[in-house]
Symmetry: none
Subunit: 208 residues, 2 copies
């Protein structure tokens, strides 16, 4: 079965070039193309391509938002972002929105076709540079500052409950201690984390 590909790209020239490349390549079929995210959203659910090549910078709705919405109605469609920028913000947003791969427009024809085959085979094509950025986001959350580390075990349990939105009284019942004890812990937690409200503390906690 050839791989059915759709293209969403506002530049007529680029879009046409891509479509031609895919149509001519063995094992590929270009089923549709769109110049605008809105039109793509309307058409793709019917087209049911296997993979969509999606530009990020589109007029009106951008590519990332388009992926998010497309994935809501057709989660099985794979999306590969295709863009000129290698900026961290967009990479994360696109991947979080449901994109499977992330390539730059300067990718060679062969590499592009290889990437589409990769997607069918369960891969996530991206340059190693982009992979590095993704990897870094794993690490950033990690070994750095962990202000919650200085908290005593009991204090951490309380913070845990705080993050779940429990009332002081509920925390007290939950941990089998008194309301005033909870109060004391929370004052100590705030001091250690250098915050003045519950929400700030929770934000620090969730951000780890």
């Amino acid at each position: 079965m050839p791989i059915a590909v759709s293209i969403v790209e506002d530049s007529n020239q680029v879009r046409t070039t891509l479509a031609r490349l895919i149509s001519r390549a063995e094992g590929f079929r270009c089923v549709s193309q769109y110049a605008k995210a809105e039109a793509a959203l309307a058409g793709l659910p019917q087209d049911r391509p296997e993979v969509v090549l999606m530009d990020i910078n589109l007029p009106g709705m951008n590519g990332v938002e388009c992926v998010r919405r497309l994935k809501q109605v057709r989660p099985e469609i794979q999306v590969v972002m295709l863009t000129v920028y290698e900026d961290t913000e967009n990479i994360f947003n696109a991947l979080a929105a449901g994109a499977t791969g992330y390539l730059l427009k300067r990718t060679s024809k062969d590499a592009l076709l290889a990437a589409l085959r990769d997607v069918r085979q369960g891969g996530s094509p991206m340059t190693t540079h982009i992979a590095r950025k993704v990897v870094q986001s794993f690490q950033r959350a990690g070994p750095s500052t962990q202000p919650t580390e200085n908290l005593s075990p009991r204090e951490q349990e309380v913070l845990d409950c705080l993050a779940k939105g429990f009332l002081y009284k509920e925390i007290a019942d939950n941990l089998g201690i008194g309301y005033e004890t909870v109060h004391t812990y929370i004052r100590r937690i705030y001091e250690k984390l250098q915050v003045r409200t519950r929400t700030e503390a929770v934000a620090k906690f969730l951000a780890r």
Copy 2:
């Protein structure tokens, strides 16, 4: 400058093969090799290789823990995991611990050397399969329920401020509206998100 590589691998045969490959390759230098994580931890900080090839399954301390500790003392040393398993748990742990790349032992010699060069050039070498797993972890929280979507733009701005721990008054000043208006928005937000406190709302918001 040749790339200085160290190897941590318990199998004598594999380790020797790798060392030979690297020593003979143009542009590479094998500066040290270790059969155990403990020994590697003691030696690598002095060896100061540019890249370490690290096996995951080591006797005693495993490769992931070894990376974590190595990164604490020598964060500039890049580590590429080299393993037979493509299992999700290890991939995340290794990357979170500070590994830069993740390859399988069946990787070809050429690809391995290319990967090491990639690392110097700021990339994160990994197979597209592994990249997919990494990408999926971005999405896992993802495309499902997004209750924050029903919020009006203004309400989302308020929620944003809420998440930063601002007081009602601060939100009001921040957005240039009145305290009572903030109050109204927050009541509407709580209703839409089905929560009763600020922290619950923020938790839903941050969990996206």
